[in-house]
């Protein structure tokens, strides 16, 4: 039997990690909710299985999504993951084909060269050695990039790279040592026996004359085995746990399991599937505009994994959703952040690294004492009976020009409409939800729902994308909810309103809550094209920016908000347009002080272009009075 003591560290590591992975998967599976278990079973015997295999190949090995967004970074990840996979695959085949017998234990394949040093003499064998050297060279090229990235992220096209803790550093070092030590060990052995291909053979031939190659090789075989063993043992404590868990995540997602409102097995698997590739850091405006570099999703997931206090990290985020889009693993980052926000602050955060092997229990929200209704002071409001309801929203009340423009448009539309919150309405509830106070938000939702139900309307128009999102997703209404840009688009399509073409050059800023979160990208742009020359920018649709004023971030200071707003305004006014158009009162309010370009809401520019039939034109004094009233200014 071929055996040597140096394989012991590798074997310990390998069998430990296999045991660990099996135990943990069993625990995870048993903790799934019953519907999710059924989904998983159905997925296993259905189409999801094939899809998952394909996705695992494309994403976990080839890293297609990273390649798409950053070629050099993608190559780095691909060479390490795909290269290592090929090395294991072909190594096992090599041991099986050329070894003394078939079906070898894993160490025979990994340390094949040590046990078969004169392998590579015949033509077929040397061809196979060439293949193995090629794969090793492929991995090493990626490894060199990884080392360079650690010291200078710019080389792989990254602005930032993730920061590490001591355990991460040990694991990283052992990972880095694996392939160079294999190269040297194989080269020296090849040198001693005159075998090896273009890489190991050449280095071996070059080193052998002035070194006792066989004796020097032995410590390197030890190093190779030790670094593999260390890496496997530390794997559960570090981000490298994503290597096994990502496979689970892909399979669970394809089976139809989603992140819900509460922490679950799925969110835990998702948290452990993050490879800390750092794409979310580069994509984050808090990072590149405001210089805040410790709250990005990669860090949030990391501190959840380490069970440390996540309160501050979870709150300090614009929730713009840019990271959700770029994440190559497809982790639902914003929902996970919202789970953390809802969670009562955990008291049992630990600092002992070794406890990471055992699972942190789900932090169930602490049972809060029954609190009496906080908003029982709200008066009963009755909206007038009408077909169309207009809900301006808090932010629109602070930008009266949007409100008066909408009144003008609604008047011109000829529809029967009613203004729900004319005298300063009640908040839609989303700001409370964003702060993690869902219960309080529910009270406001119930209050507003009643007003809307009683009116008997079939359409609800809102000027604020924040309200739009919550009305669509969290209210149980049987009315059609429209943002005013969609409403105006409908009016134009029906021919209810006539507009002049304003000869202005404009650019469009897509608000996060409207675009990324609700998928309304095209309607606002079509409306703008109807009245002005819309010029495209570098930040269209999915790539749009957040103005910085987001209610999602409760902690960000006004100064930092202004920095983000200034960055956005500068990006969007590169062509020096006459107007920068947006579709959100909060974006308007945030962007206005940040640039010299005029900021206008979509309703304002439409109202400006509106052709008002002369017979309905009111006298100017009355109109002015109406504006004063709507802005609640009394003289």
């Amino acid at each position: 039997m071929q055996f040597d003591p140096f394989i012991i560290p590798f074997n310990i590591g390998l069998y430990f990690i296999i045991f660990y992975a099996v135990t943990r998967s069993i625990i995870w599976f048993s903790e799934l909710s019953r519907p999710d278990k059924l989904r998983l079973q159905r997925g296993f015997f259905g189409k999801a299985f094939g899809q998952s295999l394909k996705e695992i190949f494309m994403e976990s090995l080839i890293h297609r999504k990273i390649l798409k967004s950053n070629l050099r970074l993608g190559y780095m990840h691909m060479s390490l993951a795909f290269g290592w996979f090929l090395l294991i695959l072909f190594g096992t085949l090599e041991a099986d084909l050329f070894g003394t017998r078939h079906l070898n234990p894993p160490y025979k394949a990994i340390f094949f060269k040590f046990f078969n040093p004169d392998h590579g003499k015949t033509f077929l064998e040397s061809g196979y050695s060439f293949l193995m050297d090629l794969i090793l060279a492929f991995i090493l090229s990626g490894l060199i990039m990884a080392v360079i990235k650690r010291f200078s992220p710019k080389v792989v096209g990254m602005k930032q790279t993730t920061r590490l803790k001591p355990v991460d550093k040990i694991a990283l070092t052992s990972l880095w040592l694996i392939f160079p030590s294999r190269l040297l060990a194989e080269s020296l052995t090849s040198g001693a026996y005159g075998t090896g291909s273009f890489l190991t053979g050449t280095i071996g031939a070059w080193l052998a004359p002035f070194l006792p190659a066989n004796e020097v090789a032995y410590p390197f075989w030890w190093l190779y085995s030790l670094s593999l063993g260390t890496f496997f043992v530390l794997l559960p404590l570090t981000r490298y746990l994503h290597i096994p868990t990502e496979l689970f995540l892909i399979f669970m997602r394809n089976s139809g399991i989603r992140t819900g409102d509460k922490a679950s097995t799925f969110s835990e698997v998702a948290v452990h599937s993050c490879s800390s590739c750092g794409l979310c850091i580069d994509r984050c405006q808090m990072s590149f505009s405001a210089g805040i570099n410790n709250i990005q999703s990669a860090y949030l997931l990391k501190s959840i994994r380490q069970n440390s206090d996540t309160n501050e990290i979870a709150q300090n985020c614009l929730l713009c959703g840019r990271c959700d889009q770029i994440c190559p693993v497809g982790i639902e980052l914003s929902p996970i952040r919202m789970i953390e926000r809802r969670k009562a602050k955990s008291d049992h955060s630990y600092t002992n690294t070794w406890k990471g092997y055992f699972r942190a229990k789900h932090d169930l929200p602490a049972v809060k004492q029954p609190v009496k209704a906080a908003y029982d002071y709200l008066p009963e409001t009755v909206a007038g009976k009408a077909d169309v309801l207009y809900f301006a929203g808090c932010m629109t009340h602070l930008t009266p020009s949007i409100k008066s423009s909408m009144i003008k448009i609604l008047e011109a539309s000829g529809l029967s409409w009613s203004f729900i919150d004319e005298n300063g309405g009640v908040c839609c509830g989303r700001p409370l939800m964003l702060a993690g106070l869902d219960k309080e938000a529910r009270e406001l939702i119930n209050y507003n729902s009643q007003v809307i139900w009683k009116s008997g309307a079939h359409t609800l128009v809102t000027s604020c994308p924040i309200c739009y999102k919550v009305f669509r997703e969290s209210y149980y209404l049987d009315v059609e909810v429209l943002h005013h840009s969609q409403f105006i688009k409908n009016l134009i399509d029906k021919g209810s309103v006539k507009m002049n073409f304003l000869h202005k050059r404009v650019t469009y800023h897509s608000p996060c809550e409207l675009g990324r979160h609700s998928g309304v990208y095209d309607e606002p742009k079509e409306v703008i094209r109807h009245v002005a020359n819309l010029e495209s920018t570098d930040h269209e649709d999915d790539n749009s920016l957040c103005c910085g004023g987001s209610l999602g971030n409760i902690m960000l200071s006004q100064t930092k908000k202004h920095l983000i707003a200034a960055g956005v305004a500068a990006e969007l006014t590169l062509q020096n347009p006459d107007y920068l158009i947006t579709a959100c009162p909060l974006c308007k309010k945030t962007l206005t002080p940040a640039t010299n370009t005029r900021i206008a809401d979509i309703s304002e520019i439409v109202a400006q272009a509106l052709v008002v039939p002369s017979n309905t034109k009111k006298n100017p004094e009355q109109e002015r009075k109406q504006v004063r009233e709507s802005a609640s200014i009394t003289f």
């Binding site: 709200l378 808090c394 602070l398 309405g425 009640v426 702060a435 209610l551 006004q558 909060l586």
Partner: protein
């Protein structure tokens, strides 16, 4: 004795010996802009809750700074965190966070079980 409608008014001095400034300190530590308030009242004027009740961020700010926590504790839950106050604030106080932290402070600090 006949009642003439007069009564003895409550003392209005600020008693620094008994007042508890823990809540204000909790907020100040986490949101330094809490100190920038000049009590202009813009926040109170724009406030929805203030429209229907006697809730006022301006008053809350002053009382918390003084350490008179009874009224703020009673009122804090009326806020809807809508953020209008932070948009009108001329001093750039992050009012939403002040209100959010005040909620947390009353929940966390001893003697305050909301």
């Amino acid at each position: 004795m006949d009642r003439f409608g007069f009564s003895i008014s409550k003392g209005r001095q600020i008693d620094w010996d008994t007042n508890n400034r823990e809540v204000a300190d909790f907020i100040r530590e986490r949101e330094p802009s809490f100190n920038l308030c000049i009590a202009c009242g813009g926040c109170a004027a724009s406030c929805t809750a203030g429209n229907y009740t006697d809730f006022s961020l301006r008053e809350l700010n002053i009382l918390l700074h003084r350490g008179e926590n009874t009224k703020p504790e009673k009122n804090i839950k009326k806020c809807m965190l809508c953020g209008k106050c932070s948009l009108v604030c001329p001093r750039g106080v992050n009012t939403r966070n002040v209100l959010f932290l005040a909620r947390q402070a009353f929940q966390k600090l001893e003697g305050y079980a909301v």
